[in-house]
């Protein structure tokens, strides 16, 4: 069963789902259940492919100038697809009672978002990777735009234009690679695999390589977000609906780091080597800035948004230090961040639906009123603070340990990054204390209801995953290790000794 047309099913299923959902007429409830069923179906389809290591699908359609609908699945892409289908399922399940206006459009957009993300992950052709990389913005634009908070117009505009601007530069870099290959071999193709094999034997001159690498990094850095390009994230998160924030934090941010690991570094190892120092500096600044600024926030969603900046600073540090363990840790940390931040946003959404305010001081003493909610919140905080035994620790430990050994950039960055571990605790515990401990600041807080079975269905898998990946990460890391080993085998000759 696991052959190339499984890939086709993986690629086409969400697109079909979007069509089906948008076709469903009738009152809101029908659409919600159809869409959740389809999301669940897709999650199961993805689960079937658990044992896959590498699959390739050659398109037969003729396209001008060597562009091909090649699909390529490896463990890097696979686990992100698994994460995205899982989080979309949770997000849709969460927004059952929450969304009232235009429900069909809401669900259709989420499926469309998933479709574009999966398509982007599966694309083997650089140009179509770019096409779906940009296409991801459209559903997100409408999700934040239509169902967002008060300042959503400004936030959506900023989010869309910022990412669009960055990726336009990548477009030129992409074309430069595509043309360089054509000029060198006379063959029109943008398939990533052939480019990789070619550049492995005869790499581009470093000067050309570095400016193309910079265009790639600029576009991915805006998406990650890396330090100077992160100002869109807090606005986008604050204004996005809860389900939108879950997907935005859970999946879209990971596309940036996935892009770095899959395209930017393997294609241009020497350039990555040359720019490792400054990029590590930016990641470290991102870690520290993210933590410190999160500590000052009064809006919970902004706090979590800045925490994502800090967490992904670790991931980018792991990537730019270019060690095998570091990369395994970075990849795992991407999945962990998806789980813990996704859960945190769901929890904030749970609070927001009852009290309709995101101001941290409007709550207080929740531990007594909502004990179960506090338990889940504490577990998720521990995962995001990287307490050993939770998945956060495994990721962060591997990143820092691996990066310490690397000789591409100085080990001082790792030391500064581990300072981030301390700052992480400060703002997270600050949030817990303001939300859960002390006396309830307003009488309405007393009347809040604790988690029902519906919420438990949402949170128990996440909590289970946090501890399962914390104790037994080999289940995830096995295939990822092989893929990283493969990549490092190709770029090893270019790395500094």
């Amino acid at each position: 069963m696991l052959n190339s047309n499984y890939l086709l099913v993986l690629f086409a299923f969400p697109f079909l789902a979007t069509l089906i959902v948008s076709m469903v007429r009738g009152r809101g409830q029908a659409v919600t259940w159809v869409s959740i069923a389809l999301a669940l179906g897709y999650f199961i389809v993805v689960l079937l492919g658990l044992t896959v290591t590498e699959l390739r699908y050659e398109a037969t359609w003729f396209l001008p100038l060597g562009l091909k609908y090649g699909l390529y699945l490896d463990s890097y892409a696979y686990y992100l697809i698994l994460l995205s289908s899982f989080l979309t399922l949770l997000a849709l399940f969460y927004s059952r009672g929450v969304v009232e206006k235009k429900i069909t459009a809401y669900h259709a957009l989420f499926h469309a978002l998933q479709a574009t993300v999966v398509a982007c992950l599966l694309c083997d052709d650089l140009v179509f990777f770019y096409v779906f990389w940009e296409a991801m913005l459209i559903p997100m634009y409408f999700i934040i735009g239509v169902w967002g908070g008060q300042r959503r117009l400004y936030a959506t505009m900023k989010f869309f234009l910022y990412t669009f601007a960055g990726s336009l530069f990548m477009l030129l870099g992409l074309i430069a690679v595509y043309i360089y290959y054509y000029k060198a071999t006379g063959v029109w193709t943008a398939s990533f695999q052939t480019l990789m094999e070619y550049f492995q034997t005869n790499p581009m001159p470093v000067t050309v390589q570095s400016w193309i690498f910079l265009t790639f990094v600029l576009s991915f850095a805006i998406k990650v977000p890396l330090f100077p390009f992160h100002t869109w994230l807090p606005d986008a998160h604050v204004e996005a609906p809860t389900a939108g924030s879950v997907i935005l934090a859970g999946i879209l941010l990971k596309m940036g780091t996935y892009g770095l690991m899959r395209f930017a570094v393997p294609l241009f190892p020497e350039a990555a080597q040359a720019f490792a120092g400054p990029l590590c500096f930016l990641s470290v600044v991102g870690i520290i800035l993210g933590a410190l600024v999160a500590w000052q926030q009064t809006d919970i969603k902004k706090l979590i948004a800045y925490s994502s900046v800090s967490h992904l600073g670790f991931v980018t540090l792991g990537i730019f230090m270019m060690t095998e363990t570091g990369w395994n840790g970075a990849y795992l940390q991407m999945i962990n961040h998806g789980i813990s931040t996704g859960a945190l946003f769901l929890l904030v959404g749970f609070l927001y639906d009852q009290r309709h305010t995101r101001d941290i001081s409007a709550y207080g003493g929740l531990a007594k009123i909502l004990p179960m909610f506090t338990l889940i919140l504490v577990v998720m905080t521990l995962s995001s603070v990287a307490l050993p035994g939770t998945n956060g620790f495994v990721g962060e430990f591997l990143i820092l340990l691996g990066s310490f050994q690397s000789n591409t950039a100085s080990w001082i960055w790792v030391v500064l990054a581990s300072v981030g571990v301390i700052l992480g605790v400060i703002y997270m515990l600050h949030m817990i204390q303001k939300l859960c401990y002390g006396k309830p600041s307003k009488p309405e807080v007393e009347t809040m209801t604790d988690l029902t079975w519906k919420e438990w269905v949402l949170y128990s898998p996440l909590v289970a995953l946090v501890f399962f990946m914390g104790i037994y990460p080999i289940w995830f890391l096995g295939p990822i290790q092989e893929k990283t080993a493969g990549i490092f085998a190709t770029i090893a000759p270019f790395l500094a000794k």
Partner: protein, 493 residues
């Protein structure tokens, strides 16, 4: 001599369909029985017949100079004639529902539908003439036929001051630029003493530094630049597009660019290739300027048609770059052709929708479109697709065509043009997003929500819109829809 003329007109028959159809309309009009929609139907059928005829007898290898040097009838000319006929057909279909309206404003205008159609057809003929021109005379006359046809079309709503003023302005500035263009032709003729492209091309190889040639090239460039609405020459475009009737604006935005690009491709790369040093740098400057300034000025526009006018200026800049890269030696004509086809489809589709949506008397402000998605879902979906397409945002064909251009630019090493193109399309995305926001996201109620659009009896306008949306959507994901057709048909030179 006479049978030679008959034989020539047999080969170049597709081009002669235009005048035949125009005269038929005039003759039928003499008997004066049918209402406006009768004539429109008549012309539409005629066009469909001539289109199918052209496609049937399409012959790729054909390459004949007919009418003793005036016309060269090759696949290039046939393709452009087909495109021109398709566009005119689309405009007639778009005008169909509006013609049926009984309001005083439209009734008084559409009494003259027959004349309107004649002008439309003959301006279409201008494109065929330009595409097949092999002589400076036919170039100049083709340009003039198209322009005069458009002057009349712009002034079609006689009772409306805006339309008359737009026609008047277009004529005055058009004539002014035609004079400049003529000076260019004069100098090229003066320098070489010939008027036919082939002979001029031979002479040009020897006249590299000749001042007359330089002046000729410059004047012609200025004339063409005005027609393509490149930036320093673009100022009247906004007023003309705003004033003219909406279907005519759509026609203006596409047909002029197609015709002039066809002509300038032959003129610049065909004839003036040996002196290309003179015009390449100023051509790049013009294109780059129009991409950036076109998009910048569009940021603050309030009426929909002016916004689209400036966006068409920036698209013209891109098409200029497309022309730049279709140098027969180092590149091919695919980027330019794909851009023309997809851009025209999107603009005509969008303007068809605007004709359907707007109520003729008042100018169509962007505020009027606020919250359109709540009432007219399908219309706003189509609008959204067109706007995303024009903005060049990936999954749609609008991006693919820009991609081909960027790819060709980088392949031939025009790096500055590529970077400016990127900056331009970024600025472009900004104002398109603003329009999308008013349609999909804003809470308030625009005036257009309540306005009942004209009845569309034979689904003519909706057909156009559906066809255009399909091309924009599928063109992006499976570009070989239009790519295959272009590669197989076009063998320039």
């Amino acid at each position: 001599m006479f049978e030679k003329l008959i034989q020539d007109s047999m080969t170049a028959l597709p081009m002669l369909h235009w005048p035949i159809l125009a005269c038929l309309v005039l003759v039928v009009n003499l008997f004066g029985r049918g209402g406006p929609q009768f004539y429109l139907g008549f012309v539409a059928l005629g066009l469909i017949a001539s289109l199918s005829w052209d496609i049937a007898i399409f012959n790729n290898e054909l390459r004949e100079t007919v009418f003793s040097g005036g016309v060269v009838w090759d696949s290039y000319a046939q393709v452009f004639t087909i495109i021109a006929k398709a566009m005119v057909l689309v405009v007639t279909l778009t005008v169909f529902p509006v013609a049926g309206l009984q309001t005083k404003f439209f009734k008084s205008a559409f009494d003259q539908t027959a004349e309107f159609l004649v002008c439309l057809l003959l301006s279409g003929m201008g494109v065929s003439i330009l595409a097949s021109a092999a002589d400076l005379t036919s170039l100049f006359l083709g340009l003039e036929i198209m322009s005069i046809g458009l002057y009349c079309l712009c002034g079609f709503y006689r009772a409306d001051v805006r339309s008359t003023e737009s026609g008047f302005k277009y004529l005055m500035i058009g004539a002014f630029s035609t004079a400049i263009f003529l000076y260019g032709v004069a100098f090229i003729y003066g320098a070489t003493g010939e008027t036919s492209y082939a002979l001029i091309a031979q002479k040009m190889t020897t006249l590299a530094g000749d001042p007359l040639v330089k002046l000729g090239v410059l004047f012609t460039l200025a004339g063409l630049a005005f027609k393509l609405a490149f930036v320093p020459f673009h100022l009247n475009t906004a007023d003309v597009y705003e004033g003219a009737p909406t279907p005519v604006t759509g026609y203006l935005a596409t047909i002029v660019k197609v015709g002039v690009l066809a002509a300038s491709l032959r003129l610049l790369w065909g004839v003036l290739e040996s002196v290309s040093g003179m015009w390449i740098s100023s051509w790049i400057a013009l294109c780059a300027l129009s991409i950036v300034i076109g998009n910048v000025v569009a940021l603050q526009q309030r009426t929909m048609k002016k916004l689209l006018a400036f966006s068409s200026i920036s698209h013209a800049g891109f098409m200029g770059l497309g022309l730049l890269v279709s140098n027969p030696q180092s590149g091919d004509v695919f980027p330019l052709m794909s851009y023309i086809i997809v851009y025209s489809a999107m603009s005509l589709g969008l303007f068809a929708l605007l004709t359907y949506l707007e109520n003729g008397e008042k100018p169509l402000l962007i505020e009027d479109l606020r919250g359109l998605v709540r009432k007219k879902v399908w219309v706003s979906l189509a609008l959204g697709i067109f706007i995303f397409g024009l903005a060049g945002i990936p999954p749609f064909a609008g991006f693919m065509i820009k991609f081909w251009i960027f790819q060709a630019l980088i392949e031939q090493g025009y790096w500055t043009a590529a970077w400016i193109g990127v900056l331009g399309s970024l600025l472009g995305a900004a104002y398109y997003l603003k329009v999308l926001m008013t349609i999909f996201i804003s809470e308030e109620e625009g005036s257009l929500i309540s306005y009942a659009p004209p009845r569309d009896p034979i689904l003519s306008l909706r057909l156009v819109v559906i066809a255009a949306t399909l091309l924009t959507l599928l063109g992006g994901v499976r570009p070989q829809l239009y790519a295959h057709w272009i590669f197989s048909t076009l063998a320039l030179k």
